[in-house]
């Protein structure tokens, strides 16, 4: 068994009496892009901040590249690119000055590559940080995470605040980093994003890891919601009899239907296509909705299974 690039064992952290994370154990292999999924407040940021030695775990172990995250934090940070969820930097410095400052603190970075990143994300480095929009602030933080070509990327909700074009550019950057041999640990609460970018996934809820596996192993939690409006009334049992349809509700006096579909919506769309369709709306429920509506109280039970999978 190869040595894991990132590994935590029975990691615990509480804030006074409040729950942080409980017995978090996970393993990220070199070259993996590991998606860390969970609803808001689940414990994703706490785990990441322990990996970054910003928080000290109450118990358990956290190692990156074989080194202890707390006692060897300086050595570890030489190989890490970190992007926090809420960037806070000196508002009086320009984006360019901030990148240069953080570059100096890393012992210098390749200026050509840095300029390339700035161009790629179309960041204006001459504006002061406090004058940037939230999206541009994210770009500064994103660029500083990649500018020294780190071997390990720790990214906390990296795409939040970025427009779709820059999200796409970011995903390309992660793929390139992976092709260059980097390992990434990406937290998110958007399932489709993780699905597109990651090779392995861990799901955390209420501070506990409830599931870990390959990206295909967790596809079963994916749901899509379809709202279809027909030109005339359509019987509901057309959809309720389909195997992947979990719920079907009649709307608009029988002329509409709201479906929750597990897995690909192919069968539901084909069934609907037999009738005159006025409109189709589809959206992916948030991970929070998925947990609340489909996982409910079974999360704790799943937590027991998670440790087995890790082991």
């Amino acid at each position: 068994m190869t040595e894991a690039m990132i590994e935590t064992g029975q990691l615990n952290k509480s804030y006074g009496g409040k729950r942080g994370i409980v017995d978090v154990s996970l393993r990220v292999e070199p070259g993996d892009v590991f998606g860390f999924l969970g609803p808001n407040g689940a414990g994703k940021t706490t785990t990441i901040r322990i990996l970054m030695a910003l928080l000290r775990a109450d118990s358990g172990s956290a190692r990156i590249d074989g080194l202890d995250c707390w006692s060897d934090s300086v050595a570890i940070k030489r190989v890490i690119g970190y992007m926090p969820a809420e960037p806070a930097l000196d508002g009086n410095l320009t984006g360019g000055q901030l990148l240069e400052y953080l570059g100096h603190l890393r012992g210098g970075v390749d200026q050509a590559y840095l300029r390339q990143l700035v161009d790629r994300f179309e960041l204006d480095p001459t504006r002061k940080f406090r004058q940037y929009s939230s999206g541009n602030k994210r770009k500064v933080v994103l660029i500083q995470a990649f500018m020294h070509r780190p071997r390990v990327l720790i990214l906390d909700e990296p795409t939040s605040g970025l427009d779709p074009l820059n999200q796409q550019e970011f995903r390309r950057l992660v793929v390139e980093a992976r092709q260059g041999g980097a390992t990434a640990f990406v937290s998110s609460h958007v399932l489709s994003e993780v699905e597109e970018m990651c090779t392995r996934v861990g799901i955390i809820r209420d501070g506990r890891v409830v599931r870990i596996g390959g990206i295909h192993d967790v596809k079963d939690i994916k749901r899509s919601e379809l709202t279809i409006l027909f030109a005339s009334t359509v019987p509901l049992d057309v959809f309720t009899t389909l195997p992947d349809v979990e719920t079907a509700e009649s709307t608009a006096g029988g002329q509409g239907v709201h479906l929750t579909v597990k897995g690909p919506p192919d069968a539901a769309i084909k069934a609907a296509a037999r009738y005159d369709i006025v409109s189709v709306t589809s959206h992916e429920p948030s991970l929070e909705d998925i947990f609340l509506r489909y996982y409910g109280g079974v999360a704790d039970a799943a937590a027991d299974g998670a440790s087995e999978q890790v082991a």
């Binding site: 910003l54 000290r56 300086v74 940070k77 030489r78 806070a88 930097l89 953080l102 603190l105 890393r106």
Partner: protein, 556 residues
Amino acid sequence: MLRRTAHPSRSLSNVYLKTLRGYRVAIIGWGYGMSLLVLELVASTSAITQTAAGRASLTQIASQFAWNAAPVAVDTPGGYATFKLGVGILVMAIWPLLAATRTLRGEEESGTLDVLLATPHSRTRIAIQKLAAIGTALLGMALVIGVVTWAGGAFFKGGYGFTDALLFGLNLALICAVFGAVALFVSQFVIERRRAAGWTAGVLLVAIVVDMVHRIWPGTDWISAFSPVYYYNLSKPLVPSYGSSWWAMLVMLAVTLALSGAALALFTRRDIDGMVPLPRRLQPPKLGRAPVALPARDWSLWSVYTRGLRASAWSAFWWTVAIAGFAGWMVFAVKQLGSALSGIDSQSAVSSILNKLGGGDVKLTTTLLSAIFVILPVLLMAFAVTQVNRWSSDEEEGRFELLLATPQPRTRVLLARFAALASASIAIGLATLGVTALAEALTGLPLDGADLVAATLGMIPLGLLIAALGYLGAGWLKTSADTGLLSLLLAAWFLLSFVGPELNWPDAILRLSPFYYYGSPLLHGLQLSVILGLLATAAVALSGSAVRFALKDIGR
């Protein structure tokens, strides 16, 4: 199951009460702090004014310090307290200055005003409620000051009544309100809260100096009348024979309302996060510096130390101007008083006071200068407190997160920032030495060179000591608590060393203040063991803070 119903707190029912709620500690802290300062003076003076000789001495010495405050009935406790407080009492204006810049501009900076303005209330209504809360807080402080000053005056036979004490508090609240309104007005023309506070502090200093003009050059009242401080000084409620000037109080009220009204009108018309453009003639000249692109090639970006140095440069510059300027000015002022000091009876109570503060023979001008120079370390320590506040708020606002994501050991980050603070303190000390030496050369005042070095550079260990204690406190406390406690500690040390001797407090108590060890270096120099002792204490506190910072959770 019975479900507990959460009752909304009444203090959160509107903007006014919510804002006022945040000022509770300030009302009590500033109210009691300022009134205790008055009481200390009333108490210490009441003993001296028991005898005719003591009263005569007070009158004699006070006349030499007329530039500070008009000496009116200084042979009474109320009169002497009013005189001795002089412009020093205006330190209270710092609170409305900070509160007024925080309330609109500060909330725009932090983004909290966006949320508030998204509620169905007009900008005017929200702003008025916030300003009303500041006004109420000032009146609350005035009431606390009035009541405590009255109670203390009754106990120490201060010679003034309840109404007089209340008017004293009201007069103080009004001058503070003026500077709060100035801060609010200035906030409409600058984009940063700190800059608004800085400009208003400058206006405050200029107002104090303009007020002094008519006391130095008779017949120049018309110049001083441009300063709001002039109208504050027209009332001396603690001197019943002098009384209060209602029209002067109304002038201050009118200025406050006019400036606040103008600020409100500008606020309701401008962009949030924007500012009112100044007329072209008043706009600062553009430096013609090219925008900073990549690479910036800026020396201040080389390390945490250089960045810390650059971040505190402007602040350090203004503190240098204030401290070195004050020291130089005092050399000139004391030189002018030289002949008058020679007439003071060496057995008088005033002589005794000067000896305790200055540490030497009252007939020497150096003794008086020494007594004045004890304020220098207080000012340097106040500068250190502002820098500790910056360190603590950097952590609280999450600015360490990315810094500590770089391969920089936490201890090095802390020490680098402290080194930047120490460098700024040393620069202030050296500048003060240079300015004082120049003033000495120009005036011909006989000062011992080594003692002058001790008096100016000797304040640096005191600055480092309070900074190290502040860093230590920041390991556990939030920014507001750390800065508040540090300010309180500084005030307590100040009272111990500058009022304690007048009250003949025991030596063991006086030793608790580091000013005790600073002593009177202008007369007696500064022993190396004292400097080393102060530095060692600072080093212990700094080591503790480094250990704490290396082990703690970094969070918001």
